[in-house]
């Protein structure tokens, strides 16, 4: 019985990789066939092959836009991480500041960023407005999760620090922040995807103003020109960017926690 287990595990592992790929290939094949058989023109629905051709043909344009969007996303993400963690630490050190500011953090979070973006574009230069949108959607999960983590310190460990006369700073650095780390990383993983969404929303909102050159701007612009294959190609790049961001942050999470946190442990070999 137990001798069969490694075999079964390996088969399961292989299936987990193979099945989504099979679904993808099948889906693309059906799409390609349907477009060809029904003779659908590319400005209505381009076939996957056509999208791939466009991706290659327009690569220099699209790659530039991708870099612009990624740069904004990255800046927004870094600011959101710093802002979220910073505010959470500030809140944990002072009740008064927490009571004063937390409601506004919630308001920023619950107001749809699509609705804020046009206003921001009026008051801020476009680059800053896009950045602000990325920040607004991404900072809250970092703030909320880090706050939860800072409040989830083991009470006996807190007693131990008190017993040995640890200062507030030492308690924060040696106890609270490490305790909060898994929560913080969970917040960052959400924030990575959200800052991409924030950047895209702002670019779309700015689209008609025409000054941008990010991927979302490319999508809006291609839409006006009925360049549907390019819209798909840009969309594909956005998805890939989102996936890469997610996996990079998951990797960071794993590297930081693998030695000690339950969430990052692999089953015993």
């Amino acid at each position: 019985m137990s001798a069969h287990r490694p075999d079964r595990d390996r088969r399961e592992q292989a299936l987990r990789v193979a099945l989504p790929i099979i679904v993808l290939v099948l889906g693309l094949a059906i799409w390609e066939l349907a477009v060809r058989l029904a003779n659908i023109p590319p400005y209505v629905l381009p076939a996957p092959g056509r999208i791939a051709q466009t991706l290659v043909a327009d690569w220099s344009l699209l790659a530039h836009s991708l870099l612009v969007t990624l740069a904004t996303t990255f800046e927004g993400f870094v600011l959101a991480a710093a802002g979220g963690v910073g505010l959470a630490i500030l809140f944990s050190q002072s009740r008064l500041i927490e009571y004063s500011l937390y409601p506004y953090a919630v308001i920023l979070q619950v107001t749809p960023v699509v609705a804020i973006a046009p206003l921001l574009l009026i008051y801020l230069p476009q680059h800053l407005a896009v950045l602000a949108c990325a920040w607004i959607v991404a900072f809250f999960p970092v703030l909320a999760n880090t706050t939860l983590g800072l409040n989830s310190v083991d009470r006996n460990l807190a007693d131990l620090f008190a017993l040995y006369g640890a200062s507030r700073g030492e308690t924060l650095w040696r106890l609270k922040l490490p305790s909060a780390l898994p929560y913080m990383l969970g917040g960052l993983r959400i924030a990575g995807g959200l800052s991409l969404i924030g950047a895209v929303v702002a670019e779309i909102a700015a689209g008609s103003a025409g000054a941008g050159s990010g991927l979302a701007y490319r999508i809006a612009e291609s839409g006006y020109r009925l360049n549907i294959p390019r819209m798909f190609a840009a969309l594909l790049l956005l998805s890939v960017a989102g996936i890469v961001i997610f996996y990079l942050l998951s990797l960071l999470n794993y590297l930081a926690l693998r030695r000690w946190h339950e969430s990052a442990l692999t089953p015993e070999k």
Binding site: N156, D159, L160, Y164, R174, L175, P178, W260, H261
Partner: protein, 261 residues
Amino acid sequence: MAAISSTPLVALRNVGKTFPNGVAALAGLDLAVQPGEFVALLGPSGCGKSTALRIIAGLSEPTSGQVEWSPANGIQQQNRIGFVFQEPTLMPWASVFNNIALPLKLKGMLPAKTAERVEAVLERVGLRQFGGAFPRELSGGMRMRVSIARALVTEPQLLLLDEPFGALDEITRFKLNDDLLRMWQALRTTVVFVTHSVFESVYLSSRVVVMAARPGRVFREVAVDAPYPREESFRTSAEYAGFCRQASQTLAQAMAAGGQA
């Protein structure tokens, strides 16, 4: 009442503790701990023995009465105490070495001196080659050893243990009891050990303080006049069985008294 031969290291005088919700955890508690002795606090759950320990450690303030240290001047309370919690209470993100080094780092000890002290205490608890391991890689008994090592690393005058071996299996528990006795004798420190096990309290201590509940107070003491070092032979002796019977009976009386109060 046992004859008091010298000035106690620490004494609780008429200590009371009422929690904000109105529950009286302790009332009129008197307890004097002599330098170098091994005292066990034995009682049913809810008799306030952990609260008493936390008050000695300064983790909780009594609502009435005093805690007296001797000599009263000089050394700060926190520099005198090592505390072992019910759970190992280790930082999961830090190696065994860094967990044990924590109290020294918080005192600002230099790294070289810290390392020396940590190595020495690791040796003492029998975990010399485990400094680099993480808590989750250790067994329950080994984690408790790390916890004891951390409490000992500051070379405290008073070691407080709050039901430290309650969650361990009996074999591990016996082993740790023996090791604890050996360390206590080698270090000539003072120990207050909270437990709800009659057998453990008698095996370890020279004095079992039996507590009654509602409100928590000292009911009666049982002196365990058996010489140290105590080893496996003591555990199976008629003498040991006699003390256990005596402590059990006292505990039963304390529980009956606690029920009415």
